[in-house]
């Protein structure tokens, strides 16, 4: 099947089975989730020594903890004795983790401190060889903590490549940076994680159909046609994004995703280049995905157009794999630290009503993704040879063209009626899965 994907992708086709095949899924857990850099937490979630959250790498539980020296440890949640889970809460604050089975106890860096009746039971055993296993590498960008299980993986900077330049446009616009507004919403969709990840690479086309109801309630202040002007960007292998902006510069705001003027006034060229600032200013919407499963969304929205004009919402999420046809969505909302409490509250309420589990946008997303996973598992797709169509924007299909004057890195295409951003995702997926 990977051979088929490699053969078909240059022609803009993807075998339907990638969204449902069990063997492919099993392989993804090793070839993708155990090797790529994955998002595990934002620093603002673990602010003080001892504060921890429990997160996933692939399907596996990891403790993400602010250790006693102020650094961050990402530890496999498995006691070295019998592999029992030592962290049984989603979050909290602790000085140590104690295994419920035999009482082996570890500190916040994963070092084995001891066990009951140590002398009689375990005297002579080397503690250093029996600590909780850390992820192979950890690195942070704009407070976003990433980890990888692969010691041979390139650095996070090398892995992100020019996607870093674009992440700056959401998270790095002033010296305050962002903080998370609440712990993540978590909910389950019976669909393949790649349906969601590829959607956030820059599927804007679906807004006009799947999310058309949002215009019935004025949740989004830009018309579909206007919103489709802008750029699709393949920032680096596997990492794609999409920016909605008026191409000819005629101010079809809002600026900076609709964030309040008081905070955008603090965005400046001290942190980002003038080019980056100009692009962020002109952007109405930023939607993007860091391979494999870390998505970012910045857009103006309102949950109640009659009472509140649209305001900027900043969100990021992960699509955690639970099976070939099952994913758990983890959805965070954040805000620039120097926004007022009122501004943060407004942004959070707008987000909850639009781009959250109960939001007018997100509600409809699950429908097609669930259906795609049925097709992905179907016998008919294989027997009848269903190759999914990813050809929008390829030569001879539509009017999207390379934007040679795009001042940022990566490959930029305009307008946003194209699917190169998804083909970029699958090309890198194909490469990771085969190597």
């Amino acid at each position: 099947m990977l051979d088929e994907l490699e053969r078909l992708l240059p022609a803009g086709r993807v075998p339907a089975a990638v969204f449902g095949d069990e063997d492919l899924y099993r392989r993804e857990l090793r070839a993708v989730f155990a090797r790529c850099w994955v998002f595990v937490a934002h620093e603002s979630e673990i602010p003080v020594p001892g504060s921890f959250v429990r997160r996933k790498i692939g399907e596996d539980g990891f403790i993400v903890v602010r250790n006693d020296s102020g650094g961050i440890s990402v530890l496999f949640d498995a006691c070295r004795h019998r592999g029992v889970q030592v962290c049984r809460a989603d979050a909290g604050r602790t000085k140590h983790f104690r295994c419920p089975y035999h009482g082996w106890i570890y500190d916040t860096r994963g070092r084995l401190l001891g066990a009951p009746e140590w002398t009689t039971a375990l005297e002579g055993m080397c503690r250093e060889d029996n600590g909780l296993l850390p992820a192979a590498q950890i690195a942070t960008r704009h407070g976003l903590v990433f980890a990888t299980l692969d010691a041979a993986a390139p650095s996070l900077d090398a892995y992100l490549g020019d996607m870093s330049w674009y992440l700056d446009l959401v998270f790095g616009l002033n010296e305050h940076g962002v903080e998370v507004l609440a712990p993540p919403q978590r909910f389950v969709i019976d669909a393949n994680w790649k349906s969601a990840a590829e959607n956030f690479c820059g599927d804007d086309y679906h807004l006009g159909t799947l999310h058309r109801s949002v215009w019935d309630v004025g949740a989004f202040p830009v018309s579909f046609q206007d919103d489709m002007t802008g750029y699709h960007i393949q920032a680096a292998p596997g990492h794609s994004l999409s920016l909605s902006m008026a191409v000819d510069g005629a101010g079809a705001g809002p600026e900076f995703y609709g964030l309040p003027g008081a905070v955008t006034a603090t965005f400046g060229p001290e942190r980002v280049t003038p080019t980056q600032l100009a692009i962020a200013r002109r952007s109405r919407v930023f939607v993007g995905n860091v391979f494999p499963n870390f998505s970012v969304l910045a857009q103006p929205a309102t949950e109640d157009a009659g009472s509140h004009p649209a305001t900027g919402v900043l969100a990021f999420r992960t699509w955690q794999p639970l099976g070939p046809a099952r994913m758990e969505v983890w959805s965070w909302f954040c805000a620039y630290r120097n926004m007022t409490e009122d501004e943060k509250r407004r942004s959070y309420r707008a987000a909850l009503g639009t781009v959250s589990v109960g939001g007018c946008f997100d509600m409809d997303d699950a429908e097609p993704w669930i259906a795609t996973s049925h097709t992905g598992r179907s016998v008919a797709a294989g027997v009848l040879g269903l190759e999914l169509n990813y050809q929008m924007g390829m030569p001879g299909t539509g009017r999207a063209r390379r934007a040679d004057d795009w001042p940022g890195p990566g490959i930029a295409v305009t307008p946003r009626y194209e699917e190169g951003v998804q083909r970029n995702f699958f090309a890198f997926y194909s490469q990771m899965m085969r190597s």
Binding site: R88, A89, D90, A91, G92, L181, A182, P183, Q185, R186, F187, V188, I189, D190, T209, L210, H211, R212, S213, V214, D216, V217, G218, A219, E303, D304, A305, G306, S307, H308, E328, Y348, R349, L352, G353, S356, V357, G358, C360, D362, M363, D364, A366, E367, I370
Partner: protein, 180 residues
């Protein structure tokens, strides 16, 4: 989150069978009927106060010493009258894909306990919502508790405060497209 008390610990708790308790039960059953029958707009206009605060709290798994896990300032839904109205309008849109074909929902409201706080009735009730769509045989089930404040406005009871406390931390449903 405001402190929760049990009506059974209060002298002001309404005894089942008393006229006021009956009125509360009837209100709860009418609400469930309107929502199950798809009359969301009528629910909003006749049973909900204009200054309603309607919240579904975010919940984590926490150690017992850290409490039941509801997150201060963390929500799945944080609604007011205007946003509820917007939600209902969206559900009626020809482009609301979650609503067409419509799901089948049924709300089971039980353990209705109420007490009089002088001008405001505090009510706790258990809720089980059963939902299926299409040819699903395994329903989406949500179980939780509502802490409500009902207030008499022009003679009839209206909801001015609802906090929904769900019995899970990870929602097993793909969306909260329906009212709890």
């Amino acid at each position: 989150m405001e402190a929760v008390t049990s009506p059974f610990r209060s002298d002001a708790h309404l005894r089942p069978g008393s006229p006021l308790h009956n009125e509360v039960v009837e209100w709860m059953h009418l609400e469930a009927e309107l929502l199950d029958d798809g009359h969301e707009r009528e629910w909003l206009q006749t049973l909900v106060s204009r200054d309603v605060v309607y919240q579904v709290l975010l919940r984590q798994t926490r150690r017992r010493a850290d409490g039941p896990g509801f997150v201060e300032g963390g929500f799945h839904l944080d609604e007011r009258y205007g946003s509820l109205s917007s939600r209902i309008t969206r559900n009626g849109s020809a482009w609301a894909w979650t609503e067409d074909p419509p799901p089948r929902t049924r709300r089971f409201v039980a353990n209705i306990r109420a007490w009089d706080r002088g001008g405001d009735l505090a009510v706790r009730s258990n809720l089980l919502v059963y939902r299926t769509r299409g040819d699903q045989t395994q329903p989406h089930l949500l179980s939780g508790e509502r802490h409500d404040g009902l207030r008499r406005e022009h003679g009839s009871l209206r909801l001015h405060r609802r906090i929904v406390l769900l019995d899970l931390s990870v929602l097993g449903v793909p969306n909260l497209a329906y009212l709890l």
